[in-house]
């Protein structure tokens, strides 16, 4: 990433002190284009769909549903899905239920560190409309205000089958190439950032976590 701090294409990073600003990259992310050769892009999409690595980050009670998927009964490794402990290497972020403001900050950081193309599955009613925490002072009510969601699974909590079905549908969408949450995020970055900063009041991280 460019270290050029004067160019137009930079983020403000106003949440950081002058010293810290030097430690972080301030480049503005750009939407990426598909490969110009269609066959290559199709092959890449096929590979992406068949090798989904899930970030092991459970945010709420729904994420307990991920465990049965890994074990003998459902065994998602059959479909090329594996858990990854680090955001750098994973491509799917499963928002496992309610998202408190404190968690939201970590989710944004992790999501931005993931390498595109990246996908978000929002699990449970909580990220969709607040669920049973709709009147909580501490959990957000609409997750898609803050990050782009590719697939919603409703229920409180959804059965593992429902999650499996969502993953299968996500795969189909990736194969035909219309799962571009990461690009949507980058294109509407200012809108998303405004929403994020509205609820995260102590914004003490870079505007985009490279």
């Amino acid at each position: 990433m460019s270290k050029d701090r004067s160019s137009k294409n930079t983020m403000e990073n106003s949440g950081l002190s002058a010293d810290e600003q030097l430690l972080f990259c301030n480049a503005r992310p750009e939407p990426y284009k598909p490969y110009s050769i269609k066959a290559v892009e199709d092959f890449a999409n096929w590979a992406r769909a068949n090798s989904l690595w899930i970030l092991a980050f459970g945010t709420g009670c729904c994420s307990i549903e991920l465990r049965p998927l890994m074990t003998a009964r459902f065994d998602i490794s059959r479909f090329g899905i594996a858990g990854r402990p680090t955001p750098r290497q994973s491509s799917v972020f499963i928002i496992g239920g309610y998202v408190s403001v404190k968690t939201l900050k970590r989710i944004i950081r992790s999501y931005e560190q993931m390498q595109g193309p990246k996908f978000i599955i929002a699990l449970g009613s909580c990220p969709a409309n607040g669920g049973m925490y709709f009147d909580s002072y501490n959990t957000i009510n609409q997750f898609d205000l803050y990050l782009p969601v590719d697939m919603y699974v409703t229920g409180c909590m959804p059965r593992p089958e429902a999650l499996l079905a969502a993953i299968m549908e996500l795969k189909e969408d990736i194969k035909v190439g219309n799962c571009d949450g990461a690009n949507r995020y980058v294109e509407n970055l200012d809108w998303y950032k405004a929403n994020q900063k509205k609820v995260i009041k102590n914004w003490d991280m870079p505007d985009y976590n490279w």
Binding site: M1, A47, R48, R78, G80, P85
Partner: protein
Amino acid sequence: MIYASMSEWFGRVGNFGLTLLIVTVYGLLVGALIERIIAKVQGRVGIPYSQPFINIAKTFFKRTAVSHGIMFYLGPVFRIAGGIGTLAFIPVIYGSEMFSNFSMAGDLFLVIYFMFFGQLGMALGAGESGHPYSAIGIARGLSQMTAYEVPFALAVISIVIQYDTLSITEIVAAQQGGWQNWTVITNWVATLAAMLAFLGMTGYSPFDIFLAPQEIPIGPPTEFHSAYLSFLQINRALFGATKLVLFMNLFFGGATGWVELMIKTLLIYMVAIVVGVAFPRFRVDQGIRFFFKIPTLIGIMSIVYVQMVLA
């Protein structure tokens, strides 16, 4: 080694490329097979055989890649150079001109050097990423490496004394003519020490603390992603298979054909797997103590054995 002509040199490079391809694909398939076996033990179906290849394609086709500096690029490059370098000096198939690669008189030491070159390169690259867990993983990995190096080096010295040569080809040649000539029979003490070191080398439990996916998110490669990661994945398969070939050559009589090679290496690999599924993980200090105790003693004994019994 003097080559008669340019074309012979190119031929050798081409042959080596072919070996490289076969060994890498074989390594990936073995990896998938092992995954499937472990899955079966756990009552699961497991990944398809094509999964490692798809994973590599996927990581390669990632659209973005963040860099952390020049050493960060070089880490995976050094790592894969270590893998290729190791393979380059190992004669893969005994008696086959085509698949003996660049093996020569002193290749054993070169191979041992290359095996650790990759690890050091990786340590530099992962250190550059600045991730604290990478640093922890490297510290653990390198200290464990220092520990299992000792019995392995002792075992290698022992067989070097036994066969009085530093050439892997000659060591394999000396083991031909039936299983009773294999090092595992003639010098079982050295083999035992080396196999114990092998457990540490493969990085399966109980010696997988430096990877520890849950505690220190997979250790050294934490920050590596996209194409860097696909290099590491390829190297993991290549290097794993290369180590197996080396062990087969040194201790189990080498192979005269690909089928023999595959059966033998798979069986050697199984040793690590069986130990791995049966034993829980050592802490790093326990692991180091383990290697410095019994395996090192066995290693020293193997040298004594060679001097007293075989001489």
